[in-house]
Symmetry: C2
Subunit: 198 residues, 2 copies
């Protein structure tokens, strides 16, 4: 449909998660019907976000500053680190407003089948913080999946070396097999509040 | 979440049709997790499509040239004009490959409640073509909705002035109340093939 530039836009939109050819065409048409009000602002927002985006070298969060707003917030407790799989999980916990410490984003879970090993997970900055002695509690907030459980036990083995550090995990208030970032705020709050020693 | 640039991106994504805050965040994260491979190409494609896009002054199609590829295709019959509501409808018919003539995109339907009157519909170029005597058939392919029917009858009144022009409408093979651009190719082909005098 239309020229090469329109086809290319539809092709790239069709690669977004949850998109098919139909939704890609619908979004492209919506944007192209009023380029000045719709397409141009979105293109500019993408460009600016792409230029501004940084991965926090401390916790792995995505932000426009490094270290991120959470890591440098003086009102937060750097002694309590919540370990999550993804930035999406971190954002979900922030929206729920249930964690007043800091985070460590692993960037995934151990998955031998998918070829994801310990070296692929962003765990180094957490161990550094533990070695500096600034951490007194680690909360494991990983998904209730096979990979989440595998990753949690691997992490518990690593964390056992640090004396005086409490390791807890969020309660299984989350549906088994479910990912963390689709839970409602109440479930997240309950799961975090009822955490127990790992 | 994150800085102002990230929030602005999520806000604009949330305004896309079919999007909510959750899907906007999911798409933003998908793009921001790998900016070079995902976000930058999409921003560039949007920018290029925005620069290239033109509305065909003959038929109302969106394309990168004016007149559009369809209007200038020597293999198509300019004597048969298919009238559709939206560019999305035109694209649906093109994907089905069932119409070998040209188009007129009205850009909407008559809707007194929504304040859309005859002056808001792109019908002038069709009347010009009719006055030039180059059109021998007009196919009305409007949605089987109240507004589609209202628009069709208004158009039939206008077209009655042109002698020697056959006016037909697509068969009601389409589900009542349904829009044209969600139909499968077979239904579209049947509806167009079984068109009858209006
Ligand atoms: Zn951080
Ligand atoms: Zn055209």
């Amino acid at each position: 449909m239309g020229g090469h530039e329109i086809e290319q836009l539809i092709r790239l939109l069709g690669r977004l998660p949850g998109f098919g050819p139909r939704s890609a065409r619908r979004i492209a048409l919506f944007l192209l019907r009023d380029p000045q009000a719709r397409l141009v602002p979105l293109a500019r927002a993408l460009e600016r976000a792409g230029e501004a985006i940084k991965t926090c070298s401390t916790c792995g969060n995505l932000d426009t500053v490094d270290p991120c707003h959470i890591c440098t917030d003086p009102l937060r407790d750097p002694g309590v680190v919540c370990v999550v799989e993804t930035v999406g999980d971190l954002w979900a916990l922030e929206r729920a407003g249930v964690h007043r410490g800091v985070y460590q984003v692993l960037g995934g879970t151990l998955s031998p089948l998918a070829g994801i090993g310990p070296e692929d997970l962003n765990v180094g900055p957490l161990l550094e913080r533990l070695e500096q002695g600034s951490v007194r509690e680690v909360i494991l907030a990983l998904g209730a999946t096979v990979e989440g459980a595998t990753t949690m036990h691997w992490l518990m083995d690593k964390l056992a070396f640090y004396e005086g550090v409490t390791v807890s995990r969020v309660a299984q208030g989350m549906p088994v097999g479910g990912a963390l970032d689709v839970l409602d705020d109440g479930t997240l709050a309950a799961a975090l509040g009822a955490r127990r020693p790992a």
